[in-house]
């Protein structure tokens, strides 16, 4: 399902705008990450996309069609996990999924199998008859996501789905979302944990203070913003028995060349240094020559590609400045 947002805006009090002037296109079958700090307008945008909230201004089109009032047919094609984790605490996971399956009008013949499938997929089989109130936070989150996928939606909207999930749960969620995309489902996802989205998303929209800062293909965005950031990883052999400079000397020399050492470590018998050298690649060439001249035994020097987190931080700095 292709999503088009045009000049979308929402205000709750008529004075401050949670989101305003949002223009965004999400191609069909893509995974689009919505990132931004708290209060940026992500949840509001997702609620409007899920048709549970009306925009104050602007419009949303689903496959080119504007939603009608009380558009149940459209909602049948959408799976929405909002914030706040609303669950019926006295219902068991099986009862909860069955209830929502009926609310989404899944035929009786398919409902039982769909519920079982979700319980297995989200590793809730052992807890199928336990009250939802007794489940751990991670299990509840898995149950909520299972509810959104139960009716096989064409558009999946997840607001902070990784919240409360342990590392394995997050890994499973990524796998599930990849499978969901392979079925042709469009996925819109918001998260604070940018590393979760880095490899997963192919589209990205960064929101700040109710405005869209940047949007587009993830690769393009990273490409666009990494020219201003030069991070290199150096692998250095330790000093010989006879002595000689090691990583400490390397660190001093990098600082002399206006470098910022971000991380250090030890890997495969080599010391590693990750440093940011601003001002272009010639600066790094100078620094590398100085290291070699000082007797530092540099094995490799490779440029580290920017990640989503770096882009986001860079954009946040720009915003603050």
């Amino acid at each position: 399902m292709r999503i088009d947002l045009r000049n979308l805006g929402k205000t709750y009090d008529g004075d401050r705008w949670a989101i305003r002037g949002l223009d965004l296109t999400v191609p069909s079958g893509s995974i689009c990450g919505l990132i931004g700090p708290n209060g940026a307008g992500k949840s509001t945008t997702l609620r409007m996309l899920a048709t549970v909230m009306r925009p104050t201004e602007g419009e949303i089109r689903f496959d080119g069609r504007a939603p009608e009032i009380d558009d149940a047919d459209l909602r049948r094609a959408i799976g929405f996990l909002g914030d706040g984790n609303p669950l019926y605490k006295h219902m068991s996971p099986a009862e909860y999924l069955r209830f929502f399956g009926e609310c989404f009008r899944i035929p009786d013949k398919e409902l039982g199998a769909a519920v079982e499938d979700m319980l297995v997929t989200f590793d809730l089989v052992d807890k199928r008859d336990a009250p939802a109130g007794s489940l751990s936070k991670g299990m509840r989150q898995r149950l909520l996501i299972a509810r959104c996928l139960l009716h096989r939606p064409r558009l999946l909207i997840l607001d902070e789905p990784a919240d409360g999930l342990d590392p394995r749960g997050r890994s499973d969620l990524r796998a599930i979302l990849q499978r969901t995309r392979e079925r042709g489902t469009t996925v819109l996802i918001s998260s604070h944990i940018l590393r979760e989205l880095d490899d997963l998303c192919d589209q990205l929209a960064i929101l700040q203070q109710g405005k869209l800062v940047v949007a587009g293909d993830v690769g393009d965005i990273i490409e666009r913003y990494e020219v201003r950031r030069f991070v290199y990883e150096l692998r250095i052999l330790p000093p010989t028995r006879e002595g000689g400079p090691g990583s400490e000397r390397a660190r001093e020399l990098l600082i002399e060349h206006r470098g910022l050492v971000e991380a250090s470590g030890f890997e495969d018998g080599c010391e590693t240094l990750t440093a940011q050298i601003p001002g272009g690649e010639d600066r790094m060439a100078d620094a590398l020559a100085a290291l070699v001249a000082a007797g530092v035994r540099v094995v490799t020097c490779s440029r580290v590609r920017s990640r989503l987190e770096d882009v986001y931080n860079r954009l946040s700095e720009d915003r603050v400045n």
């Binding site: 709750y12 008529g14 909230m53 104050t56 201004e57 009926e102 609310c103």
Partner: protein, 614 residues
């Protein structure tokens, strides 16, 4: 999908949720237990000999009081075989000329013998009608045989003459004479036949139905809706494939399923009992009344839960609903028990009263006297009331669907609100029909009563949907006009029911001005409460506005009088002037300030807000 199928499929998940697993089994068990309890209690209350069940039978006029039974049968009723033996011994002692004892048994025997002796003395004196002369002679002989002295003919010494024309009294005298002053001693047993156990079981089952549908169902539905709102669980439901009206039906069906499981056996018991020993037609009318009243109250409870659930805990909402409906239920039952021709119309307004009345009619309670309005024809108010409640329930469902589905800025459309207003007018007019010579007690009192439902309808006409308060454009003039139009329509209808020239309101400009002020401010206050956020100060000011409404209503009534009466009463335009000129000035200032402040609060910036349409 066809409408019935759509309703069924919408209700199904919610009903299944309400009756799921062990919860459903427990509910079914409880239902059977309650039905058994009704049957056991009915039998116990019919045939039991304890004081509690006896008092209850007397209260329900199924049995005469012990005093009346003892007097009518010239007997003494004992609670046990031992007490009966004591009474027999005491009577025998008295007949043997023994001394009177000082215990309770002796006291009771003395009282019975003294009353019988007085009765004989009174009957023996004076002239009896020809038909009773033989009985009079026998009374005289009985007295002489008892007292061992001839009857003095000097007079009654302050005792009233015997009433030979009271058939009950004569029957008692006959028993005293027949038994030769010796009271019958009986061990107490319920005077009701075993078949009456079915009747009382039916009454109890009907009472349980009344409680379940008119109290438990609205409280449960309102609490559940408040919980859904409070815990934000409505959001995933609103995002499901259920349309707004299906969601409203589903949310209603859940709590009703719980109540339905408990009510079904009671309904069967009640109908079976009515078919066997009561009036099936009246029992069916009772069912129709509780269903219609229940539907209305359930909708009211849900709308209250929806409105208050965000700001108040579900427990508090449920407690409040239970308290209000409990009081209304008590008032309804009391009203039905003391129903008179003048109050019969109120059955249209209070479903609890109409249901109690119909239940009493179904099982012939209160037939001995006028209790429960047994001798009154109440078909019209009961039918009108039930139809009105059903209409309100339908409108409530429409409003609920718009609120939970967020499909419209207003809860009711203009035509729907007009229908609601007309129904309210009909109900109020039925409850308080035109009085032949006190017109103001009809149209002015009803206008005051009508203001409450009309204000609620106006609040549902105000745009309060998913638009921030600061951006709401409230069409104040149009909505106030609508409200005044409803009131005008009522006055027009009232005028058609009254004799010409009896509506003094229309002929006095001051009364008319007060009526206009009262209606205008009532509308503004309703809109203010509905559309704009309330702070502590604004709540306090709303209280002042409401007090001024009451003052204006009083002034309207005072001025809607014939001219000569106003001269005689020395009426003031601002009535508080009569108490103090300063108070009069304050009243005049408030008369201006109240509408001005309300209008000011309703004026909001309308820069980018969508028009408050439907």
């Amino acid at each position: 999908m066809s409408r019935p199928l759509s309703i069924r499929s919408a209700a199904r998940p919610f009903v299944a949720r309400a009756l799921r697993g062990p919860r459903g089994r427990r509910l079914f068990g409880l239902s059977v237990l309650l039905a058994a309890l009704s049957a056991v209690l009915g039998t116990w209350l019919t045939l039991g000999t304890g004081e509690f069940e006896r008092e209850l039978r007397v209260a329900l006029e199924l049995e005469q009081s012990r005093y009346r039974q003892e007097e009518a049968g010239f007997m003494l009723i004992a609670d046990s075989a031992e007490e009966a033996a004591q009474l027999r011994r005491e009577v025998a002692k008295r007949f043997a000329g023994g001394e009177t004892g000082y215990d309770e048994v002796a006291f009771r025997v003395n009282n019975a013998l003294d009353a019988a002796e007085t009765r004989l003395v009174r009957a023996a004196h004076g002239d009896a009608p020809r038909t009773h002369r033989k009985l009079q002679q026998e009374a005289r002989l009985a007295y002489e045989a008892w007292s061992k002295y001839p009857l003095l003919t000097t007079g009654l010494h302050g005792l009233p003459d015997y009433n030979w024309y009271d058939a009950d009294e004569v029957a008692i005298l006959q028993v005293v004479v027949d038994r030769g002053m010796s009271p019958r001693i009986e061990e107490y047993a319920s005077p009701l036949p075993p078949s009456d156990a079915l009747k009382l079981t039916g009454v109890l089952a009907g009472g349980a139905l009344l409680l379940l549908l008119l109290l438990a169902a609205p409280v449960l539905a309102g609490t559940q809706m408040a919980q859904e709102t409070h815990e934000n669980t409505l959001q995933p439901l609103a995002g499901s494939a259920l349309r707004a009206h299906e969601l409203a039906i589903g949310l209603t069906a859940g709590p009703l399923a719980v109540v339905g499981v408990l009510a079904a056996p009671q309904l069967l018991l009640m109908l079976a009992a009515a078919a066997a020993v009561g009036h099936l037609g009246a029992a069916l009318a009772f069912v129709a009344v509780v269903l219609a009243g229940g539907a209305f109250l359930v909708m009211l409870g849900q709308l209250a839960g929806l409105a208050l659930g965000k700001v108040r805990s579900p427990g508090l909402v449920g407690g409040g609903l239970a308290a209000i409906l409990g009081v209304l239920g008590g008032v309804g039952v009391a009203l039905a028990a003391e129903l008179s021709e003048r109050t019969a119309g109120t059955l249209a307004l209070l479903p609890q009263a109409a249901a109690s009345h119909s239940l009493a009619q179904a099982f012939g309670l209160g037939e001995a006297s006028r209790g429960f309005g047994a001798s009154l024809d109440t078909t019209a108010p009961v039918v009108i009331g039930a139809a009105g409640m059903l209409t309100f329930a339908f409108l409530g469902l429409r409003a609920l669907a718009r609120r939970v589905g967020n499909t419209s800025l207003v809860s009711l459309r203009r035509g729907e609100a007009l229908v609601g207003a007309i129904v309210a007018m009909v109900l109020v007019t039925t409850a308080n029909p035109p009085h032949p010579w006190r017109a103001e007690e009809f149209y002015l009192l009803n206008l005051g009563l009508l203001t409450i439902p009309l204000a609620i309808l106006l609040m549902m006409r105000a745009p309060t949907g998913d638009v921030p308060p600061a951006l709401r454009r409230t069409p104040v003039a149009a909505l106030v006009g609508e409200f005044v139009g409803w009131a005008g329509l009522y006055l027009l209808l009232a005028g058609m029911l009254l004799t010409e020239g009896s509506m003094w309101l229309l002929w006095n400009p001051v009364a008319l001005l007060y009526a206009g002020w009262f209606l205008g401010v009532a509308a503004l206050l309703a809109l203010r409460v509905a559309v704009a956020p309330m702070t502590f100060a604004s709540r306090a000011w709303a209280g002042v506005c409401a007090a001024m409404l009451a003052v204006a209503f009083g002034h309207m009534i005072m001025w809607a009088r014939p001219g000569e009466e106003l001269l005689w009463r020395d009426a003031h335009v601002f009535g508080f002037t009569a108490l103090s000129p300063l108070l009069g000035l304050v009243q005049a200032l408030l008369t201006v300030a109240v509408p001005w402040t309300l209008l000011r609060a309703l004026r909001r910036p309308a820069s980018v807000a969508p028009a408050a349409g439907e």
